[in-house]
């Protein structure tokens, strides 16, 4: 078929909607850019142009060749994620960015989504034509070799973080008010372990007195603690110690000063790795069983690797960066594809029940409050609860104060006076809502809905299963990003850093979205081929 016929077959409404969304996005970004006094709207325009180029390149290669490339691309993506965890730059406590020397930094987890879409489509498109849909066994395949390997890998990756001493501020009741009587004068959190060998904890009391204690790691899970300034005393589990004492996990340490009215600092040492070896042993046993099982028949790649593990590997790697939002979105994309392939009703119900039960049990049953808090900060260190609350509060004010007509482009007080945080990235939609009002919002929501539906149409009309699954994957990516981002800015979802496609400032996801749309156009152009 000729290139010309292909271009004639391009999905014009989709292109129109995408161009319109991008144009409005740039217009909107120029307002945020003005507020921040930067040129990011031009940078975004440039990136968009680059993205467009990539998009057309992607669209021009017949998608059927992607099946062969998918394993290679997936492998590359995993390598990039691995590279990120080693060479990545740390921003706000998480490693998400891989610097390409001399050029730019790339958020590799964004590109990973494309890899996940490709590999999932590749793994799932070949199922039996007459089947009633996938079963849980089809997805999880507990006795595939990859299962225990994934478990061990996950345990090892998650287990890399070391023990740490929780630090806290102790408050003392003075009159009717709580007053902070002691707070750490050094870093907010003093990590004793991990790589650390020793740490000093210093306390300043009201006035000028100071207490000072030194922690030293002897070996895994064992520390010594000794008072380091005169008059400072350390209490372990309620007993005042003199000189060096060996600490175990879960010991409660208090640091105080003679003469000060109270012991003012308490810090339990929390175990993080204690159960990990057992899990590893368990995993090894499982692995043995799986390998034994596999060796009894002549196994194929399909029998070796469970689909869940293909998706799971990048998800875990992203999760530990840590980046909860992206990890969940990636998982959601994969599950959207699985849902489109079709789960048997019983499996669907079981899966739903098990996952809900699992989350509930974990949250309410197993985890202790400080562990929950820790999980929260571990998964999303950049936005502690207070900060996130502030973000959403300001976002709601921005959106609500737009009312029906909006305040006008460049006239939003929340935006221009910088009350709206992260306004160029996660909260870009709030800028629009403030300045263009409900009418503008309705238009944009309609446009995004149209884009998703047009993409779905392409999927439904695709000639073959692989193409359909690819498009479903891309659609799911765009959909979940749009929905989670919008729900987040209107405070119907927690703050997880998920950008709004084509709108949020940032090259990596813009490129990813463009590649995705390229894939959709690719499939749509070739719907009459065969």
């Amino acid at each position: 078929m000729s290139a010309r016929r292909l271009i004639n077959n391009i999905d014009r409404p989709l292109v129109f909607v995408v161009v319109l969304i991008s144009a409005l996005g740039l217009y909107n970004l120029s307002s945020a850019s003005q507020a921040l006094g930067t040129q990011i709207d031009y940078i975004q325009l440039r990136n968009m142009a680059l993205g467009l180029l990539v998009m057309f390149v992607v669209a021009s290669i017949d998608y059927r060749s992607f099946e062969g490339m998918s394993i290679g691309i997936f492998g590359f993506v995993i390598l990039m994620l691995l590279a990120t965890s080693f060479f990545g730059t740390t921003v706000n406590g998480s490693k998400r960015w891989l610097p390409i020397p001399g050029l730019f930094s790339l958020q590799t987890s964004d590109l990973a989504k494309i890899g996940v879409i490709l590999i999932t489509a590749r793994v799932l498109h070949q199922d039996d034509e007459n089947s009633q849909g996938l079963t849980l066994n089809d997805i999880f395949r507990p006795l595939n070799v990859s299962r225990p390997i994934m478990l061990i890998v996950a345990v090892l990756i998650i287990g890399l973080g070391g023990d740490s001493v929780r630090t806290s501020r102790l408050k003392k009741k003075v009159g009717n008010r709580m007053r902070t009587v002691a707070s750490l004068t050094s870093d907010k959190s003093v990590a004793i372990a991990g790589r650390g060998e020793k740490a000093d904890i210093k306390l300043g009391f009201a006035g000028t007195s100071e207490a000072h204690a030194q922690f030293r790691r002897v070996k895994d899970g064992q520390y010594t603690v000794e008072p380091a300034t005169e008059g400072a005393h350390v209490e372990v589990n309620g007993e005042v110690i003199n000189g060096v004492t060996v600490l175990k996990h879960n010991d409660l340490i208090r640091l105080g000063k003679t003469g000060a009215t109270e012991l003012n600092f308490a810090a339990p040492i929390i175990p993080t790795k204690r159960r990990l070896p057992w899990i590893a042993v368990f995993g090894a046993l499982w692995l043995f069983v799986a390998v034994y099982q596999q060796t009894r028949k002549n196994f194929t790649f399909r029998d070796l690797v469970a689909p869940i593990d293909v998706v799971g590997l990048p998800c875990v790697m992203i999760l530990v960066q840590p980046d909860l939002g992206t990890s969940l979105v990636t998982l959601a994309i994969a599950f959207s594809i699985i849902l489109y392939v079709g789960l048997r009703p019983v499996s669907l119900i079981l899966l739903t029940i098990f996952s809900v039960l699992g989350v509930v049990a974990a949250w309410f049953g197993v985890l202790k409050p400080y562990q929950k808090e820790r999980v929260m900060t571990f998964l999303n260190p950049s936005s502690d609860l207070l900060g996130a609350g502030y973000h959403q509060h300001q976002s709601l004010i921005a959106i609500g104060s737009g009312e029906l007509w909006g305040k006008g482009h460049g006239q939003g007080t929340q935006t221009q006076l910088k009350f709206l945080p992260e306004q160029q990235t996660d909260f870009i939609f709030s800028v629009w809502a403030e300045e263009q009002g409900f009418l503008g919002c309705a238009l944009v929501v309609a446009l995004f809905t149209a884009m998703i539906l047009l993409c779905l149409r392409v999927a439904f009309a695709a000639k073959d299963r692989f193409g359909a699954l690819l498009v479903i994957g891309v659609t799911a990516m765009l959909f979940w990003h749009t929905v989670i981002n919008m729900l987040m800015v209107i405070r119907m979802a927690p703050v997880v850093g998920v950008p709004l496609p084509l709108w949020s400032y940032g090259g990596s996801f813009l490129l990813t979205a463009m590649i995705g749309i390229g894939i959709v156009l690719n499939v749509s152009m070739r719907r009459f081929v065969f």
Binding site: T208, Y340, G400, E403, L404, F419, L453, D464, G467, I490
Partner: protein
């Protein structure tokens, strides 16, 4: 064609389910947007307004207080406060980390450097090594970072390493002396303010205690510093040596003449939190000053102006914005109400006379009142000992507090002219005479014999002159202050007519002057004695009261009012301090007219006799104040020597007694004799004899008043003749 790719079969139910999920979720988002933007839109619009609109108060300035000739007594002056905003102090930890990173150090090394830096800073040691053997490129990086952080060049010295290599290498150092740090800033500030170790530490603690938002609130380090120090600090701040420190201008009440008329003017200081709770509704804010005592207190509501309002647009950090966008917003939503300064109060006080009266007063404690008997205006009113309101307003000056504590037995806070009451002694005698004359007018010519002692029953009442005065008539009794004459009058008149007459003159009653805290004193009646004492009223009480002893106590101001009434034809006036209240530019004056409280129907004959007696006190050679007379103008008056303690068997001279038990010296005077224009009351607490311890002061005041009057008349004549010359 893919080998095993399946054809994509259409499955309508699944497809519809996908579409439905998309539409429902986007629909939910739209619904939420509708609820937030349309239903709660107004509420959120209000909140967004609350975010960026801040209303700032423009402080008003308090009204001035001027004397009768427009001379400023109290005004405001600009003062300078040194403040520190903890949030704007340099963030040394961050700077160190960034510099370390620029020098290519890892976290652990950076921490080690930081520890070394703090230690050196504490010990005031030499610069610390940041990094050794940097390449030119690396050192350039450090330089760039140092510039980006706005750290002075000398804080990060970079020197060429002395190594025997063919490559040039550099060593970078950190100089704690110059690298901006809280410690360095505070140390520099302390040395400028001449703080000692302890004060520095206290300041440091004060700053470090601030957490969170309160770090943006200013800490006042020292208020009201000298202009010179303010200038020195400002220049340092401009150079960037003191980040986080600023000099703030504010208004301070200024009492131009220091201690002069301190009690009368009062002072101001800040509202206490309790008072603030009560006065919130009147528009007071915490930190506002309020008038205490004196005129400052009486006319608080007039002296206080109205604060203005100014809208400012702030960004999320609370910084005031002045971009085009911000100013257009301010235009749209802002208000601008200028502050209204307080009203000016014109007092009847003549500051020259006030000064003379204060300077002329010889005693440790006492009061002088100068009043115009024609209209009740107070020309001067003093109280000794006194304080400096400049040192008392705002923060109480330590030295002044110490001084006032040392004389606290003298009660320096009391305004003796109106807040203390004393036995009037012989200055009371004219009123006894008038009461007696009212009962029997023949006393004008009747004589009583004084042999030094008067017997009533078993009690002996002595005249001050042991030898006695012989036969004494009315005029002589006043001139020589013969007590026995009055004992006779008292026993014949009884107490109540005397008390009634005295009270008609305003003795033993509040005068109603426009000052706070006036006390009434005591003018006892027979009923009063019956109520207060078990033995009830006896004739002895009347005898004692007749010479201003016993239970009768009055304030110096009451005596001024009474003597004014004696000489102005019986008009008892309400003493008046405020002549008018006007705007600071003199507009909208509100005049206070003289107020007659009581007009006494006194016979001309008796008045003439009494005034002759008072004239003789000064101008007849038998008079008790004859030695103090003036050539011009002719002064009349009455001395008083009020006994404080019961006399012992032996009479002591004043100098031999303890101060506390000495007599109060009084002198009540008026001048000129024939047409009095001024009444002067002098009370010298425990001063001794009225003729020697009080009269000289009164004479000095009257002399000054007279000279001033002459001078003014001359001026006026000169001006008149000049005008005439011009017109002619």
């Amino acid at each position: 064609m893919l080998a095993n790719s399946r054809k994509n079969t259409t499955r309508p139910i699944l497809n519809s389910a996908f579409i439905a999920v998309v539409v429902v979720i986007f629909g939910a988002i739209l619904a939420r947007l509708y609820s937030v933007q349309i239903k709660q839109g107004e509420e959120f619009a209000r909140r967004s307004l609350g975010n960026f609109v801040q209303t700032k108060r423009i402080k008003h300035s308090r009204g001035d207080i001027v004397d009768r000739r427009g001379k400023v007594l109290v005004t405001n002056r600009t003062s300078f406060d040194v403040v520190v905003t903890p949030a704007f102090l340099p963030n040394t930890r961050q700077n160190l980390m960034r510099l370390s990173r620029a020098a290519g150090l890892d976290k652990v090394e950076a921490k080690r450097i930081a520890v070394g830096f703090w230690k050196t800073l504490k010990e005031k040691g030499p610069p610390v090594l940041l990094a050794r053997e940097l390449t030119a490129q690396q050192s350039q990086k450090v330089r760039l970072m140092q510039e980006a952080l706005e750290i002075p060049l000398e804080a990060v010295p970079i020197l060429e390493s002395n190594l025997d290599t063919e490559f040039v290498a550099y060593d970078a150092y950190l100089d704690p002396e110059h690298l901006p740090s809280v410690t360095a800033v505070i140390r520099r500030l302390s040395s400028l303010l001449r703080y000692d170790e302890k004060q520095t530490k206290a300041l440091m603690g004060n700053i470090q205690r601030r957490r969170g938002l309160s770090r943006y609130r200013d800490v006042v380090v020292r208020s009201d510093v000298s202009e010179e120090l303010a200038a020195r600090l400002t220049s340092k701040i401009e150079v960037g040596d003191l980040p986080g420190v600023s000099v703030r201008q504010s208004q301070t009440r200024y009492y131009k003449n220091g201690k002069m008329a301190a009690h009368l003017l009062g002072y101001v200081n800040e509202l206490s939190p309790d008072e603030f709770e009560k006065k919130k509704e009147e528009g007071y804010f915490l930190g506002d000053v309020v008038g205490r005592r004196g005129i400052e207190s009486t006319f608080e509501s007039q002296l206080r102006g109205v604060d203005g309002l100014k809208t400012i647009v702030v960004d999320s950090k609370g910084r005031s914005q002045d971009s085009r966008f911000a100013s257009s917003l301010r235009h749209e939503v802002g208000v601008q109400v200028p502050a209204k300064s307080g009203r000016q109060i014109v007092l009847s006080i003549d500051s020259e006379l006030q000064k003379v009266a204060e300077d002329a007063f010889p005693g440790r404690a006492g009061a002088v009142v100068v009043m115009d008997p024609r209209n009740g205006q107070i020309l001067a009113m003093t109280s000794t000992p006194t304080y400096d309101p400049n040192l008392v307003s705002g923060t109480f000056d330590k030295a002044e507090r110490k001084r006032l504590r040392s004389i606290r037995s003298l009660r320096p806070w009391r305004f003796r002219a109106i807040q203390e009451h004393y036995p009037p002694g012989s200055t009371f005698k004219p009123f006894t005479v008038l009461a007696a004359l009212k009962k029997r007018s023949t006393y004008v010519s009747e004589k009583f014999r004084c042999n030094g002692v008067f017997r009533l029953g078993d009690t002996k009442f002595r005249c001050w002159k042991h030898a006695g005065h012989g036969h004494v008539a009315l005029v002589d009794s006043l001139a020589q202050s013969c007590d026995v004459y009055y004992y006779n009058l008292a026993t014949r008149t009884s107490l109540d007519p005397i008390a009634e007459m005295a009270m008609d003159f305003g003795l033993g009653k509040r005068t109603g002057i426009d000052l706070p805290g006036e006390v009434p004193g005591i003018m006892p009646t027979e009923a009063w004695y019956n109520r207060k004492f078990r033995e009830g009223y006896t004739g002895g009480a009347a005898v004692n009261v007749s010479i201003g002893q016993g239970a009768v106590t009055i304030t110096p101001l009451q005596l001024a009012v009474a003597y004014s009434a004696l000489v102005n034809g019986g008009k008892v006036l309400r003493p008046q301090l405020a002549l008018r209240i006007e705007d600071s530019d003199g507009m909208n004056p509100q005049q206070f007219e003289p107020e007659v409280v009581n007009t006494l129907p006194l016979s001309k004959r008796s008045m003439k006799a009494v005034r002759k007696g008072l004239n003789w006190v000064v101008n007849h050679k038998t008079g008790t104040a004859y030695r103090r007379r003036l050539a011009e103008p002719l002064v009349a008056g009455k001395t008083g020597t009020a006994q404080v303690a019961k006399l012992g068997a032996k009479r002591l001279k004043t100098e031999e007694m303890k101060w506390k038990v000495r007599d109060h010296a009084w002198f009540a005077a008026y001048a000129p004799v024939d047409d009095p224009e001024v009444v002067v009351i002098v009370l010298n607490e425990h001063g001794g004899h009225g003729g020697s311890a009080a009269a000289p002061t009164a004479m000095k005041v009257i002399d000054a008043w007279w000279k001033q009057k002459q001078l003014r008349a001359e001026h006026q004549n000169a001006r008149k003749s000049k005008l005439k010359g011009k017109s002619g």
